[in-house]
Amino acid sequence: MDKLMSDLKTQIIAQLNLQDTKPEDIGDDQPLFVEGLGLDSIDALELIVLLQQQYKIKLSNAEDGPKVFKTVRTMAEYITAHQPQNA
């Protein structure tokens, strides 16, 4: 889980062009949106793309976004639960 969360931080920075942010700046339980990292609705869509590209997980309902993308930890939990080999 720690490895996955650390990978995710690097991937989020690359996917969302957060040049001024370093992986260690993102806390495992820090909110990603609004008050936390300040991400917006387009970033949420880019995170859906990230899941699809890196983890082959398709989040078809954008309404699930806020739950899944709340923090790096919730993302990692979702990925672990939905990885194709676990299905």
Binding site: L16, N17, L18, Q19, D20, T21, G38, I42, D43, L45, E46, V49, Q52, Q53
Partner: protein
Amino acid sequence: MFEEKGSELPDFLVAVYRHFELQYPKFHKMDYLSKLGWLANEILLQDVFDKEKYKPEDIGIVLSNANSSLDTDIKYYETTKTIASPAQFVYTLPNIVIGEISIRHHFKGENAFFIAEAFDAGFMEQYIGNLINNNILQCCICGWVDVLDKNYNATLFLIEKDKSANSVNFTKENLTKIYQLQNG
């Protein structure tokens, strides 16, 4: 020589951002047209502009260019071959650069983006003159912001109702003179 210079656009944009020590994380997410227009506006307003003098809805932006958002349209099209990028799609309209500048400074006045073959100083004088003379705006940022592949150009003007120390009159002739000075 010209090609070499042009091929550095992404680096050039970041270099300008760093040189002026700007702090705006969202900058890195913008497309080239928005980055270029946004940077040009930061430099334009630096030191000389006091936005506190105006209400947000009294500050407007009127821009123009020849290539619309074509540079980003092409990049977005490339992404559709695998997974289409939402972050690219939002920039496939020329007026998004106006949105980015407005978001940065909370400008809420009238704004429009015109597409023309070349910078049309007469049109700018007429259009913005109308907005200012009719009290629709008290202040307007206008000019030309264009990017296509290796070619790019941003020339912006700050138009204010009240004369300041270093200002020149807002006329077609002065706009043309300054534009030509900037663009050889």
